[in-house]
Symmetry: C2
Subunit: 638 residues, 2 copies
């Protein structure tokens, strides 16, 4: 179902309903660009840490616009043993809703635009009829303005008809306008004195003259008249003055307020869908999701935090349960039987043996997608096939149970190991960004950091390391790269033999990290004061879960109840293979958590916050990492 | 006529022809945004100098995309006493033409996009079918690459079939690929040995494998085979190897080169239209042109120079003769009888008395615009009515001649005073940016520069200066503004009375300028070295007029021949009124300059450069300014 500005309000309840009844959601975004960085290779170095990758994407990818958002809701029908799907394709555009609203600027990348154009993407629909949005801070400010205006209007009444463009300062009436204004005042005196006259329409005049009229009347006639600006057919603006008693004035005021409140809600626009997803606490499935998640938060929730750990906290607020189908398909038991994890190829592969094509029908009144005639890179379609991929893979896990199960629900313990881990593209040895704690820290004891003159090419590095057999080069910038050797033992040899080299410099990965850390510390010390200032700011913008006025959910209850033992779990382990999976107790653990978690929002929030503090602190990185890296087998191809 | 990527090449000769036969051209651009500055008021301060305005626009407006370019050519038909008009509406988009071409990023401003969307602008046409372009430097680089490739191909032949994606370094064949490559080599040996076999199609393989194959074959078989990559219906890429003799190989090579040259010309795309306009030397008419001119140069010619004087030089290269209809209509004799100089209003006004609606017909095969059903903000339409405005105003000047003339040509001396002066929006006392020499320097002896706490509003300033009657406030930023008083004599009083004020500071405009100049000098001294470096760079990017391969024009002959006396001329003077205009010799001065100026480009270039040096130096700013300000009466409303 296509949702644009014109039909958004009519369909919003349908969207809410679909989210509420769903077993899981799948989403996808289309952007006006991917990266404004120097080059893709610099943006995605094979040895990026999750922190570095986050910072790079934050710096180089957030000025683009997420302008199409696909949402597919999947609800399982046990009697028919199939999923019922509702798909929504939202067109998004930050249309300024009035003259003082933020005028968003966004970047377009020609290659991305050209790519979408070739897929038949409808830019006119985005720009002419995209749904507006506000992030939480913008919404808060607007509500504050609205409240302030309302309280003023309810007060002395002196400000009941301030000019829509009123700046806060009164304007001195210039000499050449004094006569004009005097004339207007005369006519109003006339209006007020003659009982038979009810209203007075002034001739069209300039914006400045209207400003002067508003200002004069608001001061001279705080009560008894109602002033408004109308437009002629020729789009000329003119002022109409109505004689009103106090009751009539209040009625008009209330009418105006109701209209303003509606405009405010319209301005929040698409962000309301994101709030609904956040508050549903439902599992959200995305393919290769890091950019989609970052954009969604950045555009509809709050500016991305400075620091990766804060980003993890915010993400957990907006998406309490995430599953990345690219990560899942790159992990055992799928890794060995799936070669290509790009979305289109994955969808095709997961229809074939040993997988079963999932049974999914569109809900009544919702259009159905045909996977044979691909509509790739329409966000709604991509969300749809992401959902299909998840269903196929989840059900496949059921085949390892004894007795085997054909259907594995979105609430099954079987899929929990894949939760809240975001696939990291083109990172060689860290498969995912872990939202629920510290990230993996591979040893990288076979990696060297090399600095060299900017004339050097990959071939120069091959030559330099020719004695060490096969190497892999990951460029950092013009004058440095990581070089990984086959055997960690060779690392020290390489460093030693290069000690007296003049044109280049080799250090171990550990040395490189340490030096970088030292530099950071030194820098931090230098700017201690400004740092403290930033810290204060950071604390101010700390994420607070979105709480709508009448709908309370326990957004983080899932995370909270399923923590025990999560630390020791990792995505299905190759070492133990599929045999371990066929345990009865796994089945028993399938709980319907969402039903039991309705509680007051304030209680829920407190719990979540407390839990998170504990979670982030409970385990020092070292412990977790060593066990996790052992358990998690890194895929060969990314 | 709508020109898009698909029909651009077919219509290019029509465009050239229209430019060549025209008496004058009118242009207009539509952009993806106007300003990414903090606010419009900060971007256009009423007391900006032309240099400041240029720097602001350069900094805050050039990241937007000029994505629609309107060109209207007007040719006078004396037998019918009417103009024949050809209008072209070009859609522009920097589609990357291959994988290594620049991937342009551009900014969109929501308010501008929303505005165009409301006018029915077709974004799909821009993004799906916009004409690409290159600036001169990009074109030069591309031609160099092409020449290099061609000379290599004509050389030893060893590089005749390098991979299209070849990076400059050879890749070591990894262990696991060695067998694969050996097999390929075996099959080629087989192909070469058996006479009956002419060609060999390998199975589809990965990009890396293809790279290895190209690399191996180019080294092992420098002659005797031709290697190319083709695509199956399923878009899988595979390599085909053909046995060829030297003659056949050359034929294929030439075919390929011809295709590459065509691709190169396609990539230059729309810039060819700008080159044609530049080389025609024709009068180019634009309404409120500063942004259009800057964008056109920036996008299709060269990055905008650091310094305003260099910008003036470059502009004279690209547009030797410019006329701004907004400036013309804001100047006497039009100023007093034209209230609103916005394009749409101006066009309407210039159909009424004392003006005559211009007689203009569309050329055969060209669509006609109907000014009754406005298509405002389509670039082609805006260019069209800009042309109409110019014709009306030019003809009106003819009514002052004795005997009066109904038609005043684009080459008439009567319109020369308006040449090469670009309207400056919202500058109070400098009506235009002068391309032909130093800019006006009004005294501003009634202007104060005030610094104050950032809490201050306009009303605080009104209060502060309440003793001085009416003032005008021009905000610079949060904490400073220019305040202009009614009488220059009050300036010193204001400064004196404020000497002991603590919260604010008042200085005269002259003091402000001097201090700013001193600061600049100090800064310059500090960074002397980096400055010198920049200067070196600046000299390198000095503008050189575009010289196409087979078409030589004397682009600057007009400027060169019409210099004498230009210094003392200014737009029609109010003081002397219209009486002075009715001289017979003005009529006689109508020369057909364009016919007499065909000469070799190199000669032309030298002349222009010499002339420009003289022009910029001949008169110290002071002299010119004082006489010009006297002669030129500043319009009241901007």
């Amino acid at each position: 179902m296509e949702i644009i500005r014109n039909n958004f309000k009519d369909h919003l309840n349908k969207v809410y309903e679909a989210i509420e009844e769903a077993d899981f959601l799948a989403i996808d975004g289309e952007f006006s660009g991917i990266s404004d960085g120097p080059s893709v290779s610099a943006l995605t170095n094979g040895f990026d840490t999750p922190e570095e990758r986050y910072q790079k994407l934050k710096k180089h990818s957030m000025d683009f616009l997420l302008f199409q958002f696909g949402l597919c809701t999947f609800k399982y029908d046990p009697t028919e043993a199939k999923y019922i799907m509702k798909s929504f394709n939202f067109y998004i555009f930050p249309k300024p809703f009035n003259r003082t609203s933020p005028d968003v600027k966004f970047v377009c990348q020609s290659s991305s635009i050209d790519f979408l154009a070739n897929q038949g993407f409808d830019f006119n629909k985005v720009f002419r009829n995209g749904i507006p949005y506000l992030n939480q801070e913008e919404e808060r400010q607007l509500r504050e303005q609205y409240d302030e205006k309302r309280s003023q209007a309810n007060g002395a009444g002196t400000l009941s008809y301030i000019s829509p463009n009123a700046t806060k300062c009164p304007v001195t009436i210039p000499e050449d306008q004094k006569k004009f204004i005097e004339k207007v005042v005369e006519r109003i005196e006339d209006l007020l004195q003659k009982e038979e006259n009810k209203s007075l329409a002034l001739e069209p005049c300039t914006g400045f003259q209207r400003k002067l009229i508003y200002q004069t009347l608001s001061w001279k006639y705080p009560k008894g008249i109602h002033v408004e600006t109308l437009e002629t057919e020729k789009k000329e603006r003119y002022i109409v003055i109505n004689k009103v008693d106090e009751e009539e004035r209040k009625r008009r005021e209330q009418e105006k307020q109701a209209k303003e409140l509606e405009e405010l809600n319209d301005a929040v626009g698409f962000s309301r869908v994101i709030h609904a997803i956040a508050n549903s606490g439902k599992l959200v499935v995305v393919h290769n999701m890091l950019l989609d998640v970052m954009h969604t938060i950045h555009q509809f929730y709050c500016p991305l935090p400075e620091d990766l750990n804060e980003f993890k906290e915010v993400t957990t607020c907006v998406f309490p349960r995430l599953l990345d189908t690219k990560l899942m398909s790159s992990t055992q038991p799928f890794k060995d039987i799936i070669n290509n994890t790009s979305l289109a190829e994955l969808e095709k592969r997961l229809k074939e043996m040993p997988f079963n094509p999932p049974k999914v029908d569109s809900a009544e009144g919702f259009p159905s997608y045909n996977t044979a005639s691909e509509q790739l890179h329409e966000a709604g379609y991509d969300a749809y096939i992401t959902g299909l991929c998840f269903i196929s893979m989840a059900n496949f896990l059921g085949s390892f149970l004894s007795p085997p199960k054909n259907h594995v629900s979105a609430r099954s313990k079987l899929i929990e190991p894949f939760f809240n881990k975001l696939f990291l593209m083109r990172v060689m040895d860290i498969p995912y960004l872990n939202l629920e704690g510290p990230d993996l820290q591979p040893k990288r004891d076979h990696v060297l950091h090399v600095t060299f003159p900017k004339e050097w090419k990959t071939s120069d590095l091959y030559q330099l390391f020719s004695a060490f057999g096969n190497i892999q080069v990951s460029w950092i910038d013009d004058t440095s790269a990581f070089v990984s050797l086959n055997q960690p033992e060779q690392v020290q040899i390489a460093v030693n033999t290069s000690r007296y080299a003049e044109s280049y410099r080799i250090q171990t990965y550990a040395e490189y990290v340490e030096k970088k850390h030292e530099e950071k510390q030194a820098k931090r010390k230098l700017t201690e004061d400004s740092w403290k200032e930033m810290e204060r700011k950071r604390l101010k913008t700390q994420c607070t879960p979105y709480v709508p006025q009448n709908r309370y959910y326990c957004v983080n209850s899932f995370t909270a109840t399923s923590t025990t033992g999560k630390r020791s779990m990792s995505p299905i382990q190759e070492e133990t293979g599929s045999d371990d999976m066929g345990e009865g107790e796994v089945q028993d653990a399938e709980l319907d958590l969402t039903d039991s978690c309705v509680e007051s929002a304030s209680e829920g929030k407190k719990k979540v916050k407390k839990f998170k503090k504990v979670k982030m602190e409970q385990a020092p990185p070292g412990n977790i990492t060593s066990s996790s890296t052992e358990l998690f087998e890194v895929p060969d191809t990314w």
